[in-house]
């Protein structure tokens, strides 16, 4: 029976080619608009660490001045001070913990054929690498060193290793930079988490840094403070050490809790820590710690801007218009063959048969719409790459998106065709047989 409906539907579509193409194109356009905007939301809010994003937390403490908000309306700063970073990391209250910040300096390779360049460097404690599942091509990272240990070690990104050492295994090699000699202990594989959740000060889709060095190196060599630096004290003195001892925030602090450890325990620890610091005369404001897991943090930072949600809702309305449009066209299409249907009814087809046949036709049109939609979507996403150059590396039509596209097309074609199909199947045949 299905095969018969199918062949009838194909014939009908063939007979009303113009109208059928119009219906499919209309649906396809609406679906493409919807999917292009939805793909932005889908791709921008992807979980960057799916295995354990709910156990990895970003730590915020409010060390700000009384009656002053670090961030409006009354939120704590998004970074922490050097002192808090050191204290909390060395307290080892979580499974893994690392504070890190961005800095930069000249990298001067030994090989004279490689010109010196200004390297963007992440200064970080070693547990950064296992916590964020950073993939290594060669070698490995380092431990969280005690506060006074200065080790001149570095990990290179894949592209930096390519640039400096021509892509060979450079573990154990010496690299002069920042005026010192560093030993390469590891080389990363391709790594570009999206969003770059662990530090979004240069944008959520900014590429990761060229090199990594232990956090202590930053203090030892007095490297510049990259990323966001916020201070509320007016005169902190001139010394680099004074900055580290001040209430200036610059370091991102992340912890990973063990599987059996709950968030409450760590929050209690933070509470106790801040109370202890209050006793030492710091933290003048009421306690306002924020502990967010990766996805909560991405939502907090509004990685998907409200613009993109607005586009999506407008595109959804656009799809609705296309569905209404297709519905009126379908109604027209079925009305035009009233006499044919009356004939079939007179020859014994029941209402259900007519309805099924019309719906089959509708669904075929929906599939055509999906095809047109996907093609338009591919073009549209090229446009999106052009409009959002920072994000372009991540734009592609993945499997879930494809499936959603097909699903939405079928749904909207059924929505558009349902009432016309019912109407035409309820038709009294007599009037059309004259």
């Amino acid at each position: 029976m299905i095969a018969y409906y199918f062949s009838l539907a194909l014939k009908s579509i063939g007979r009303q080619k113009g109208l059928s193409v119009l219906i499919s194109t209309t649906l396809g356009l609406g679906i493409a608009a919807c999917m292009i905007t939805y793909s932005l939301i889908h791709l921008m809010s992807k979980d960057p660490l799916p295995n354990k994003s709910e156990r990895v937390y970003h730590v915020q403490l409010d060390n700000w001045k009384l009656n002053l908000a670090a961030l409006p309306p009354d939120l704590p700063p998004e970074e922490v001070t050097w002192r808090d970073a050191m204290n909390i990391v060395h307290a080892k209250q979580a499974k893994l913990q690392a504070a890190h910040g961005v800095t930069w300096g000249m990298v001067t390779p030994v090989d004279k054929n490689v010109p010196p360049f200004l390297g963007i460097i992440r200064a970080t404690q070693g547990e950064f690498f296992p916590m964020f599942e950073v993939p290594f091509l060669y070698g490995q990272g380092w431990q969280n060193f005690p506060a006074n240990t200065v080790e001149y070690l570095t990990v290179l990104s894949k592209s930096s290793n390519q640039r400096i050492f021509g892509g060979v295994n450079s573990v154990g090699q010496t690299l002069p930079m920042l005026g010192k000699l560093f030993t390469v202990v590891g080389v990363l594989d391709e790594w570009h988490p999206s969003p770059k959740f662990f530090d979004m000060s240069f944008g959520a889709f900014y590429p990761p840094e060229d090199l990594y060095v232990p956090l202590q190196i930053k203090a030892e060599l007095e490297l510049p403070h990259g990323g966001n630096t916020h201070c509320w004290e007016t005169d902190i003195g001139d010394e680099y050490q004074a900055f580290l001892n001040s209430e200036c925030v610059n370091f991102n602090l992340w912890v990973e809790l063990a599987g059996d450890q709950n968030k409450q325990q760590f929050e209690d620890y933070l509470q106790r820590y801040v109370e202890q610091q209050k006793a030492l005369g710091r933290f003048p404001k009421a306690i306002n710690n924020i502990l967010l897991d990766i996805n909560q943090w991405l939502a907090y930072k509004e990685v998907v801007s409200s613009d993109i949600y607005v586009f999506f809702y407008l595109a959804l309305l656009f799809l609705l218009v296309c569905v209404f449009n297709a519905a009126s066209l379908m109604s027209t299409k079925f009305t035009a063959k009233n006499s044919e249907i009356a004939l079939r009814r007179a020859l014994g087809a029941n209402q259900q048969a007519i309805f099924s046949q019309c719906l089959t036709e509708t669904i075929i049109l929906g599939c055509l719409g999906a095809l047109i939609g996907i093609i338009l979507c591919l073009f549209g996403l090229e446009g999106i790459k052009y409009l959002y150059p920072n994000f372009s590396a991540f734009v592609n039509l993945d499997m879930p998106l494809m499936l959603i596209t097909v699903g939405i097309s079928l749904l909207s074609s059924v929505l558009a065709g349902l009432i016309p199909s019912i109407k035409v199947s309820m038709l009294a045949p007599a009037g059309y047989l004259k």
Binding site: L22, T234, V321, N325
Partner: protein, 420 residues
């Protein structure tokens, strides 16, 4: 005379429109008509809200930064050797750059409009009080700054060379004289009489006293820390860093050739540093406003596609009706209706449809806007945009039915005699 008026009115096409048949025709196609009206309504809602957002973004794009954008570029000079002396390097470079014939002036500054980073300081009239704190982004420029940026000094004086201090990042101090933007002047003194603020003292960050030496019309802050992009203050300072940024203003039409020339010259003149991040202010502006440009593009594409879809729906419906009513139209023509009557029948039908759509669409438009205001903090939709979108709907409707209506108009009365 009264008779004449009546005949005249009867002579007008509008009074000859047979509303009865139109209404009954619309009534007979209830489902299709409902779909059509809903389409028009949603289209109106999307177009009015979309156009409003577009116009707001255009306003943002058009905002001036106060500097001579088309003729200015920036670059970074990064020293990398042990014995690189930033201050000497900056002084030599600037002296050389200011000599070049195509360059109006050049200045060393870490911050400039669209650079994305700078300090923000808090300004007050009275020391230490919490009253009337005006935040301002601070620029550190020497006496060439105003000319190099192309700012308009509306009152007061530029810095004198003796006021300018060379300092490093770690030992910078606050100056005793400053230049402020007109917007800061208004914020602090609540006045539009700029000359009156020159010579007055202000306090920076509650404790450092400084005298206002001049007021510039406009200088946009490098980044938006507190939603006050026009609040800037200039200190007579040059902060030396290993990585120094130069802002260079060229003569009109000389931008591209000067960029190449400067890059070549600086690259050769001192081998202890490298020249990076050479960018025109216009390309920086484009990056900065990328999301707004994207929003405008996406919304305009959606609005255009939506208009086409809606018009196609209306046109498709009308063509179908013309086809179906071929014989009826022929009969009406045979019974004495002239071409104009047929044409006005279709136009009237269209206007009635559109009016229903516009009526419901106004409600949708307001509803959509209320949602966007609540969820995404968008501003309220002015009535003008709804009216504009309604006007667009009528034009769209008329354009869409033009072809089918003309076709209907040309149906010969003889069609009445043909069997279907």
């Amino acid at each position: 005379m009264r008779m004449n008026v009546k005949t005249y009115i009867n002579g007008l096409p509008i009074s000859r429109i047979a509303f009865g048949p139109i209404m009954s025709a619309l009534h007979r196609q209830k489902y299709a008509m409902t779909m059509l009206v809903l389409q028009i309504a949603l289209t109106l809602a999307v177009i009015s809200n979309g156009l409003f957002i577009v116009s707001q973004r255009f306003e943002i794009l058009q905002g001036a930064s106060g500097i001579d954008e088309p003729h200015t570029f920036v670059l970074t000079s990064s020293g990398f050797t042990e014995n690189f002396d930033p201050q000497t390097s900056i002084q030599t470079d600037l002296a050389e750059l200011r000599q070049m014939p195509n360059i109006i002036n050049a200045v060393a500054s870490y911050s400039f409009p669209f650079s994305g980073s700078s300090d923000w300081d808090e300004l007050q009239i009275d020391a230490g009080s919490d009253q009337n704190i005006v935040p301002a982004a601070s620029y550190k420029l020497d006496e060439h700054g105003i000319e190099a940026l192309g700012l308009t000094l509306i009152t007061g004086e530029n810095f004198s060379p003796s006021e300018v201090l060379w300092q490093t990042e770690s030992n910078k101090t606050f100056p005793s004289v400053v230049i402020i933007t007109s917007s800061v002047a208004t914020g602090l003194f609540n006045t539009l009489d700029w000359p009156s603020v020159v010579g007055k003292s202000i306090f920076i960050n509650g404790i450092h006293s400084a005298v206002i030496k001049g007021v510039v019309r406009q200088l946009q802050a490098p980044w938006d820390a507190v939603g006050q992009m026009q609040n800037s203050i200039i200190y007579p300072r040059v902060i030396t860093r290993n990585s120094a940024r130069y802002l260079i203003r060229t003569k009109p039409t000389m931008l591209q050739s000067t960029i190449a020339e400067v890059e070549r010259y600086l690259g050769m003149s001192n081998q202890q540093r490298m020249i990076r991040k050479v960018q025109s202010i216009q390309s920086l502006r484009k990056q900065e406003y990328g999301p707004d440009i994207a929003a405008i593009t996406i919304l305009l594409v959606v609005i255009t596609a939506l208009s086409i879809i809606a018009a196609m729906g209306i046109a498709g419906m009308a063509s179908f009706n013309v086809l179906q009513k071929h014989k009826q139209i022929g009969i009406r023509r045979a019974l004495g209706a002239n071409k104009l009557d047929i044409l006005s029948h279709f136009f009237a039908e269209n206007v009635i449809q559109t009016s229903c759509g516009v009526f419901i669409g106004c409600i949708f438009a307001v509803g959509l806007n209320v949602f966007l205001v609540a969820e995404y903090a968008l501003p309220k939709l002015p009535l003008g945009y709804i009216l504009l979108a309604a006007g667009c709907s009528y034009v769209l409707g008329i354009v869409a039915i033009l072809k089918p209506a003309l076709k209907a108009m040309n149906i010969a009365p003889a069609e009445a005699t043909k069997s279907q």
